[in-house]
């Protein structure tokens, strides 16, 4: 009954190209969607978020797209850099009394030189 799913456990992209990470969700009541980046032996760090009332949010090389009808969001990284190699977690949030992030299982992104 996972409400947030990342179906690609890993992704390999050449440096300079676009990386596209995908995420699907089942609960249409989520208010926000977030992407976190995680390096080995470190905790997740916040990367970018999008409100459920928007369909795009951009921050530098990172853009998140939200398709509510498909219950799908994606993170685009362009151009990809070696330092982007990490595990990326998609998360969803419903603000109802208390914040409770629901995470996907992560996608390991490897940027090849």
């Amino acid at each position: 009954d996972q409400q947030v799913k990342q179906n690609s456990p890993s992704l390999s992209v050449q440096e300079g190209r676009i990386s596209i990470l995908n995420c699907d969700y089942t609960n249409s009541m989520f208010d926000y969607f977030l992407w976190y980046k995680k390096y080995p032996a470190e905790g997740p760090t916040f990367l970018i978020s999008i409100s459920s009332i928007k369909d795009k949010n951009e921050d530098g090389r990172f853009t998140v797209f939200l398709n509510k009808s498909a219950k799908h969001l994606s993170l685009h990284i362009v151009p990809s850099q070696p330092g982007d190699s990490a595990v990326y977690f998609c998360a969803a949030l419903r603000i109802q009394g208390a914040q409770k992030l629901v995470f996907g299982q992560g996608t390991r992104l490897t940027i090849n030189p």
């Binding site: 996972q2 926000y32 977030l34 976190y36 032996a41 470190e42 905790g43 997740p44 760090t45 916040f46 978020s49 977690f89 998360a91 949030l93 603000i95 009394g97 208390a98 914040q99 409770k100 992030l101 629901v102 995470f103 996907g104 299982q105 992560g106």
Partner: protein
């Protein structure tokens, strides 16, 4: 000057023992959380405290007891450890209970043998 710090980073212990994981945040945040990353890599919320008050308590065995002596600290005590408790536990904090950006600690890898 770590924002959210957890100790210990690694913990190996025998079944049946009682252990604690400590968490401290120096961000002045009101809300703190414990998440568990299981063997399938999903990060799942366990508890949340807001200003020392328990606000989220997911379906977690009674052997797990969080304690918040003040709003900068949220410790996790686990009694009668079982093999299935082996996981990585992450502490996190947000400015308040509805804030979207969570700051995570580096994680505590618990191994029960």
């Amino acid at each position: 000057d770590t924002a959210v710090s957890q100790t210990p980073k690694y913990l190996v212990t025998q079944m049946g023992n009682d252990k604690s994981i400590k968490c401290e945040q120096n961000l002045g945040h009101d809300t703190m959380y414990w998440y568990k990353q299981d063997s399938k890599k999903f990060l799942k919320i366990m508890f949340s405290y807001n200003n020392k008050e328990l606000i989220i308590n997911e379906t977690v065995p009674n052997r797990f007891s969080p304690k918040s002596p003040d709003k900068a600290h949220l410790n996790l005590h686990i009694n009668s450890l079982e093999l299935g408790d082996s996981a990585v536990y992450f502490c996190a904090s947000t400015a308040d209970r509805t804030n979207t950006e969570a700051f995570f600690g580096q994680g505590t890898r618990l191994t029960v043998v």
